[in-house]
């Protein structure tokens, strides 16, 4: 371990930390929140760029041996997470005037980056908690809403339970293998030891819970709905991305045995169906997105069924496509005042006539989430199922695809409301939200790139 390695390999983390400290200082000094916001945004962009450069440069290093290491893949993962954070931050600006959101977000992102490159359960726990704790607070930030505390509570209690399960699992694995290195999990999956199996199952369930996989999903709809738009966007994209990237790392090179396949495939499969069906009747947009995210989490876990080499690529691409598209959707939501009203899908009615740009982008987002080509969501899904099928799980792939079909309806319903119905409340033309608009442009550029050059993107994520 030398200083240079630590400096370079963790450059994104360092940048985030520095940014966080600066923002804190500025806030204490009582500077305008605008400055903090700009600084945070710059920090995230810089960190994302650093991660991207590290990844593109093929930089790999064992920063802290046995605890934390960096590879092009981890850097790419960080880059994705950080890029997704940029529009989230911009979105938050419309909702929150003070510097709390950027601060919490920077802290949380630091945790995400740690988690992504964690080599041991120690680092993993550190990262996970640094990621999660600010998010509980983020949910709570929407103080003007009566439900946000309830949402935060549910998230916190179940999140805490997940931490408990992860730690219990880690502890059992520690007892079985004598080490806290995360590759113990991969080995434990197939080990003929009850201790190992129990540990692995506990860890897996903890991640199921964090990623909102059935039957550990129940917190997600409530938390998404109760929070604010930016908080929901953060949970739906960044938290999910960080958790899934950690899961890929956790699974490492583990080839799944048939018994384990059932364990890894069935809950995600149920999630896909459950999420897609339950989303059909939701009156709240964020709640619907929550169920949608439950289904997407299912697809993401499906990618683990594929061969080892393709897992990271599939999950990373999927996360990028899914995250960007969800964010596009969030940027397009109406913001006419009362959040409870805005959140109703009903209030999307006639959106095309009020804000055509928003309606079109939201429609594109919905179609991509539904997996309609040529949008990135389709390529992502294709990639996942291609890998699953190539690994020989034809039936599972077919079931998963049929499950994805079930989701088509509720995405279309959104489009239907926007384009084919008149606005029920006779709302007036809303003023353009500059930050949301900028955020949507920030998302749409990479979306366009992913749409036109998916081959290039896949090449970058080859892992």
């Amino acid at each position: 371990m030398n200083v240079q390695t630590v400096l370079v390999s963790m450059l994104p983390e360092h940048l985030l930390l520095a940014g966080l400290c600066l923002v804190l200082v500025l806030d204490i000094l009582g500077r305008a929140p605008r400055t903090s916001f700009a600084l945070a945004l710059g920090t995230v962009v810089a960190a994302a760029a650093a991660a991207a450069v590290l990844s593109a440069g093929g930089y790999a290093a064992a920063t802290f041996v046995g605890q934390l290491s960096v590879s092009p893949a981890t850097s790419a993962g960080k880059a994705i997470v950080l890029v997704l954070a940029v529009p989230v931050l911009m979105l938050s600006r419309d909702e929150f005037r003070d510097a709390q959101f950027p601060m919490l977000a920077l802290a949380s992102l630091y945790g995400a980056c740690l988690m992504i490159s964690a080599d041991s359960f120690l680092t993993l726990l550190l990262g996970l908690e640094t990621l999660s704790l600010p998010v509980y607070a983020l949910v709570l930030l929407a103080m003007q809403r009566k439900d946000c505390a309830e949402a935060a509570l549910k998230y916190l209690v179940l999140g805490g339970t997940a931490t408990g399960m992860l730690l219990m699992g880690a502890s059992l694995l520690f007892g079985w293998s004598g080490t806290l290195a995360i590759d113990a999990f991969a080995r434990a999956l197939d080990a003929p030891s009850a201790l190992a199996r129990a540990g692995a199952a506990l860890v897996l369930c903890a991640f199921f819970l964090k990623a909102a996989i059935f039957p550990f999903h129940a917190w997600a709809p409530d938390a998404y709905q109760g929070g604010s738009v930016p908080a929901t966007a953060y949970m739906a994209t960044i938290v999910k991305a960080a958790v899934l990237l950690a899961v890929v790392r956790l699974f490492g090179a583990a080839e799944l045995s048939p018994a384990m396949i059932a364990l890894v495939a069935v809950p995600p499969l149920v999630s896909i169906v459950w999420g897609n069906i339950t989303a059909m009747r939701q009156p709240s947009f964020r709640r619907m997105i929550a169920y949608s995210s439950i289904a997407h989490a299912g697809f993401l876990f499906f990618a683990l069924l594929g061969a080892v080499e393709g897992r990271f690529q599939a999950i990373a691409f999927y996360l990028a496509a899914y995250g960007l598209m969800s964010l596009v959707a969030f940027t397009a939501l109406p913001h006419d005042g009362d959040d409870a009203v805005d959140d109703r899908i009903d209030s999307l009615k006639g959106l095309f006539h009020r804000r055509p740009y928003a309606a079109v982008t939201l429609a594109i987002a919905m179609l991509s989430l539904a997996g309609i080509p040529p949008l990135p969501g389709f390529v992502a899904k294709f990639l996942v199922f291609r890998n699953v099928m190539a690994a020989g799980h034809t039936e599972l792939a077919v079931l998963g695809l049929v499950g994805s079909y079930l989701g088509l309806y509720f995405y279309l319903r959104v489009i239907q409301y926007m384009f084919m119905a008149a606005h029920p409340y006779g709302a007036t033309q809303a003023a353009l939200r500059r930050h949301a608009f900028a955020a949507s442009l920030v998302c749409l550029v990479p979306v366009a790139l992913l749409t036109v050059f998916p081959g290039w993107a896949l090449g970058l994520l080859r892992g």
């Binding site: 041991s120 359960f121 120690l122 726990l125 550190l126 908690e129 704790l133 509980y136 607070a137 709570l140 009566k146 439900d147 505390a149 309830e150 949402a151 935060a152 509570l153 549910k154 916190l156 209690v157 805490g160 339970t161 931490t163 408990g164 730690l167 219990m168 880690a170 502890s171 059992l172 520690f174 007892g175 004598g178 080490t179 806290l180 709809p221 409530d222 709905q225 109760g226 939701q282 009156p283 709640r287």
Partner: protein, 100 residues
Amino acid sequence: MDKTHALLYLALALFALGLCGVIIRRNLLVMLMSMELMLNGVNLSLVAFADRMGSAEGAVLVFLIFVVAAAEIAIAIPIVLLLAKSRRTLDADAFADLRG
């Protein structure tokens, strides 16, 4: 039954007790305490394993868990306060506005 096993069973019992507490108890504070109980179960098992292995790693994790537990509570308390203020109750079942 050796020491490690005994401790492990105890730890698991604590963990299960905590989990059940989260599920069964109605009072929010008790639920939070149950969560801590789960973490303590983990701690116990870690210490037991660390003791058997003679490895410091487990012990380090234990300290980390103390911090995590404290942080969680630090976030949880304001939430509980907010809730209690709004409803004048600590009954978890009172907070079920978000559903469906």
